[in-house]
């Protein structure tokens, strides 16, 4: 099960991109919800194929942060650039995001009135203007890769949470993104389903996808993350390789939180 490593490599070669090219560049991001200052001057640079895991206590602004990257939330100050292009709220940026960034949600958010297959083909057919038959072929291949091709004609309400989340992954991949954002993709799942989703995500990571993932699966963070970010009160308080942040955190908050998460797990 090797995901589209080749296609990613080829596309980057074709455009003559250096290996350590910056995928996401965030500078001085500030966001308020009314009076509430949710993101305080957040800056971060993510290079291509890098895997970033974000953790932190509830309400620290992780979701808001990650949603700013694909403009699901708008922000009052700061800039977000994707592959060197600054995002604005216009059509051009929307196309840039659509072609490069996919996102997964805690509640899967599949379209309940469409079949699994239709969920996957909708974007390619209407946005990438791929002929229907070709799009079906491509989506079936993706569904096969996440291991649910057999359920293609079912509706989301008829399959389990883990399966739904894998469909959501296939739906995102159908748009052929180079960056994937994950907002707690496994926290609404029963324990036995978490693994099947994590497996797919690990595969994605190995295939060379640039990933930013809000999760409290520390095992996963250890295994695939290049850097782990710890957020608290709308700020990045700690950032570094997983061994450093998870094993020897510099800040008390971090170690307290990690202890809490780990004790909660076992």
């Amino acid at each position: 099960m090797i995901l589209n490593r080749e296609s990613v490599d080829r596309s980057s070669e074709k455009k003559g991109i250096a290996k350590a090219r910056t995928a996401i560049e965030i500078t001085g991001l500030n966001k308020w919800f009314g009076e509430l200052h949710v993101l305080k001057d957040v800056s971060l640079s993510v290079s291509e194929k890098e895997i970033i895991v974000i953790c932190g206590p509830s309400g620290s602004g992780k979701s808001t942060f990650i949603r700013c990257i694909n403009h699901l939330e708008n922000y009052q100050e700061g800039t977000v650039s994707i592959f060197g292009e600054k995002l604005e709220s216009n059509k051009k940026s929307a196309v840039l995001i659509r072609n490069n960034v996919g996102m997964l949600f805690q509640n899967f958010n599949l379209f309940p009135h469409l079949t699994i297959l239709q969920n996957c083909t909708l974007g390619p057919i209407w946005l990438r203007k791929i002929p229907e038959s070709e799009s079906i072929k491509q989506s079936m291949a993706l569904l096969d890769r996440v291991g649910i091709a057999a359920l293609a004609s079912k509706y989301p309400g008829q399959i389990s949470g883990g399966q739904q989340q894998r469909v959501a992954i296939a739906r995102s991949l159908a748009m052929e993104p180079r960056i994937m954002l994950f907002d707690e993709p496994t926290s609404a799942l029963d324990p036995e389903m978490i693994k099947e989703v994590l497996d797919v995500m690990i595969d994605l990571a190995e295939s060379g996808m640039t990933m930013m993932c809000v999760t409290h699966e520390m095992q996963f963070a250890h295994q695939v993350a290049d850097r782990v970010i710890f957020m608290a009160d709308g700020e990045i308080v700690e950032i570094g390789p997983p061994d450093q942040v998870l094993k020897n955190p510099k800040w008390d908050r971090t170690s307290q939180f990690l202890q809490h998460v780990l004790s909660h797990k076992s």
Partner: protein, 447 residues
Amino acid sequence: MDSQATPKTELLNFIPSPSRPPVVITHGFTGWLKKHLFGGFWNTLLTIAVFTLLYLLLKPFLEWSLVKAVWTASSRRECLSISPDGACWAAVIRWSNNLIYGRYPDPLQWRINLGIGIGIIWLLPLALKKIKHKIVIGLMAVVFYPFLASYLFLGGDRGRLHYVIASVALAYLFMLYMNIILIYLGKKQTGQYFESLIERFVPRRADLLGHLTFLLILSVLIAFIFRDFSLQDVSTDVWGGLFLTIIISGFSIVMALPIGILLALGRRSQMPVVRWFSIATIELVRSVPMITVLFMSVTMMPLFFPNTMDLNKLAQVIIAVCIFAGAYMAETVRGGLQAIPKGQFDAAKSIGLGYWYTMAFIILPQALRAMIPNIVTSFISLFKDTTLVSIIGLFDLMLMARNISIDKNWFGLHTEPLVAISVLFFIFCYTMSQYSQRLERHLTKGR
């Protein structure tokens, strides 16, 4: 992950208990009767009481309407002399042509039958399983059918544009049925025969262009064939009866949904002007009785249009009813929109769908599906509400029925016509409600 060993070995020894078939409750008719109507003393008593009451109430009605009824007579006096306390259905039967077609000239009534028939034929494919893209068929019907139908109903010279669009409508209907036959024969559809040719020039969307090409050819052909065809002019003043009721309510039922959707979306819009306009329209219309809207449409609408424009009463009334129904529909649709979780918008946006795509593919299908019962309820009440147009002098089914009582032969005969049109209304409304329930079951199947 070392704790996995123990449960696994246990699982190996685990033998599931055999499954049983589900419990089936079969009582048959007598069983059902026993259980539901005569189970226990009080239940039996209640059943007997209710049936006695029903009998007492229905007996005089049945006697009046069937047993003692008069079916053929030439005047009310004759009815009374035959059976003084029976229903005089003869009046309704004598007037039946007027009740259905209004004062539309007898020899031209085939045009109404044909027009309505074409409408039904157009919509029949929606019930076929093998047909795809039903929404296109429906949309084409909404957009093009009115031109074809009005061409038939109105007759006369309706101008070149109207003629062309009516030709396209007829061509589309022919194409639709050709395609259906081809699909059921397992052959390629008409438009697909042009695909390879078109692909040479325009590679993109050759399938769609193929269908359009065939439609164009067929339209030209039809427009050519019927070039000398002309129909006698029939003024809308003589339209009436069930026909008029169907025209008014059909038009407003079809238009209410798009108007309602646009107003509901406008009400949630980020753009202040659009939002204010939508809110103002909705609130204004909803706070005025329909009769007022109808009167205003006849008296005030001419003020808004240039003097040269020839407005007829029917068009004014239809516009008014459409806006009225649209405003109510907007609130129904808004209810449906509010029930859609925010995650659906997020997901749509995250795969890059813009506003209109999100609405068309993700939000509205779900919102409308959830609101089918409410939407059909408003359709039904709209259908019944159109009887109000009789007040401003349109001879719809209601006014036609009332008219019987001032016919010199049937003077003072009120009950029978009203009972008759009640039955008609019941048939229509009940059909709609049954259809909506079927639709609902069908759409929620497997979810």
